[in-house]
Every structure is written in C-alpha cells, then in structure tokens.
C-alpha cells in the first residue's frame, strides 16, 4: 500500500488549531489526523509547524508585555479616563436664559423674509410707478421747454426773427407774473394763502 504524505496545505489546515477552525467541517479531518498519528515524518512536520505558531504567539505576547509593563498600562488607563472626562464635559448642556431660549423655526423665518422682500418690492414698484406717472404728466411742458433751445438755435441761424432784448425781458417778466406751469397748480390750490400774499 502506497502512503502519500500530507501536503503543506493539509498540514497547515491541521495545524492552525481548533480555535481557528471551530465550527467548520474540514475536508476529511479524520483522515488527516489518522495520517499524522501514523506517519512519523508528517507528525514531525506537524509538530514543527505547531511549535512555530506557538512560538510566534508567545513571542508576540512577550514583546507586547515587555513594551507595556504594568506602570505604562496604568498611565495609559489614566490617559483614557482623562479623555473620557473631557468628552463628558464637552457634552454638558449649559442652561440658557429663557428670554433668549426661543428659536424661530426655519419655516417661519423664511416666511418673514418673504414678507419683507415683498414689501420692499412693492415700495420700489410704487416709487417707480409714481415717478413715471409724474414724468408722463410733466412731459408736454417739458417737451415745450425742450423745444425752446432748438427754436433759440434756429433763431441764431435766422437773425431776422430774433427778438429784441427789451422783448425778451418783457417775456421773462410775464412768466414770473403768471400763475406758473400747470403741473404746479394743484400745489397752488393747497396753498392759496401764499398766492394771496403774493398778489
């Protein structure tokens, strides 16, 4: 009967220990264990591998224990608890005066902002509208006033139609003595006393 030795994979599978393979059904574990029991060479390899793993674990634990002696662990514990203390202090709720305690919900705040924006827009529209209507009312007289320099310019071009200095001064006097532009008449109506005083 030809007996084949265990492969490295089988040996490692058998050597990782019951803790590592707990709850898992290995492929034909009885065969591997029987073989290790019967074959001196495989048993030796198996023992060597388990010894290596045990040595690795032992060395790692010894290294860690040497690097962290009890006094260092105590210091570390104290630092951790200090950190925990800082965390619990940071989480303390400070009572705030009741007068400042009410926080406006975001929806109400945005609603009030909309109302303010609408009021501002209404004011702007009203001002512009008022200004435009005022300009439209004033436009005819303004147009006449605007044409005056043009006719004056034409008067420069045609010196024959230029009024004399006496005539111009007379027109100015008439303008001052008249009742003023029509746009100012409503204002005049509000202040009759002033006109009476003037007359």
């Amino acid at each position: 009967m030809i007996r084949r030795h265990l492969t490295d994979a089988q040996l490692i599978e058998a050597s990782v220990g019951p803790a590592a393979i707990a709850g898992l059904a290995r492929q034909d574990p009885d065969h591997i264990e029987l073989h290790i029991h019967d074959c001196a060479e495989c048993r030796s390899r198996h023992d060597a591998l388990r010894g290596l793993l045990a040595e690795t674990s032992g060395a790692a634990q010894a290294d860690a224990d040497a690097a962290f002696p009890p006094d260092r662990l105590l210091r570390q514990h104290a630092r951790i608890m200090e950190g925990v203390g800082l965390l619990t202090q940071a989480g303390r709720v400070i009572s705030f005066p009741s007068a400042f305690g009410r926080v406006t919900p975001p929806s109400a705040a945005s609603g009030s902002r909309w109302v303010a924006a609408a009021a501002a827009a209404g004011l702007v529209v009203g001002l512009l509208g008022g200004h435009l209507t005022h300009d439209l009312r004033v436009q005819p007289s303004a147009t006449l006033a605007g044409r005056a320099p043009a006719s004056a310019a034409r008067a420069v071009v045609a010196p024959a139609s230029q009024p004399g200095e006496e005539e111009l001064l007379g027109q100015v006097e008439v303008a001052f003595e008249g009742r003023g532009p029509s746009a100012l008449r409503p204002l005049d109506a509000l202040t009759p006393v002033a006109w009476d005083v003037r007359e």
């Binding site: 790692a60 010894a62 514990h77």
Partner: protein
C-alpha cells in the same frame, strides 16, 4: 443626579478598560510593531468605544465589536505611518521600535541573545505579511479568536478569513525558514 449617573458610567467604563486593556495592547502592538503607535491606537479605540457605545449591538460579543474598532484604528495608524515614512529619510530603528529586553535571571546571556534575535525575526516576518493576513493571524493567534469571531470583527466571510489565515501561516513558515537557513 445626572452627575452621579455620569460618574457611575465613567467608573464602569474604567473597569471595562481595565479588563480589555492588556488584550488590546497585545493586538495593537503585534499589528503595529511600535509601542508609541500601539499606545495611540488603543487610546483612540477606547475613546471611540465610549463615544459610540449607543451603537453597540447586543447580538455581537463586546470583544468582537471592540476588536473591530481597534483593528480599524490600527489600520489608520499604519496608513498614516506609511505616508509619513514615504517622505522621511531611512533611519535605524529607534529605541521605541526595539522591544525591551525581558529580565530573566535563569536564562544565560547567550540564550537571551538567541531568544531576542529569534523574536526579532518573528516580529519582522509578521510585519511583512499583507494587511489582511496580518490582521487575521494576529486575531487568531494573539487574541485567540475563532475564525467566526474574526470574520465578524473584520467584516469578512469566514471562508475568506480561513484563506487569509492559511496564506499567513504558509508565508510565515517560508520567511522564518529562510531566515534560519541564512543564519
């Protein structure tokens, strides 16, 4: 009353830290191979446990949940160290990286020297393992966890954990055999 409850909670957490600290330090030191980094990782992990204690699920053993946090923190520290070392000049091992000698009155000086050398080999070999393999090997062999617990702690399937463990052992065996042959 609230202050009293807080003090009691802190006291209980202190006891919990005392129970888990040694194991945590072993895992972190084995994983990081640096006392300072291990110290930092363990402290951060415990503080994270404290701040996230409300997210702890009862169906998972506390050790497994804590190990998961600790290993993730160790990974972060290791990544940060790799980034630091990428831009740093190569240097010899500092005092903190070297493992302090253990006081053994019975062992001879020669035995101690061989033992320390051997431990350094083993540490260097474990350090050469890829991240996953090192984590799995550390948790199975240093923290004495089952593959089921390691799979919970690392968020891997149990089959994957077994594959990583198998590869880790195979690589360690090869590395240590090579070191023995060259010695």
């Amino acid at each position: 009353m609230v202050a009293g409850q807080r003090d009691r909670a802190r006291e209980r957490f202190g006891e919990l830290v005392g129970c888990q600290q040694r194991r945590a330090v072993r895992i972190a030191f084995h994983y990081l191979r640096d006392a300072h980094d291990a110290d930092e990782a363990v402290q951060d992990a415990f503080l994270k446990v404290f701040t996230h204690i409300t997210t702890y699920r009862d169906d998972l053993p506390f050790e497994v949940w804590f190990t998961r946090i600790l290993v993730n923190r160790c990974l972060d520290v290791r990544k940060a160290r790799a980034r630091r070392l990428k831009w740093a000049l190569p240097m010899t091992l500092s005092g903190d990286l070297r493992v302090p000698d253990r006081p053994t009155s019975q062992a001879s000086a020669e035995e101690m020297l061989i033992s320390d050398e051997r431990r350094r080999w083993i540490g260097a070999a474990v350090d050469q393992l890829p991240n996953r393999q090192r984590a799995v090997f550390t948790l199975c062999h240093i923290a004495d966890q089952t593959t089921s617990e390691v799979s919970e702690a690392l968020g891997l399937s149990e089959a994957t954990v077994r594959v990583h463990l198998f590869r880790a052992v195979r690589k360690l065996r090869t590395l240590l055999a090579g070191q023995e042959a060259s010695a």
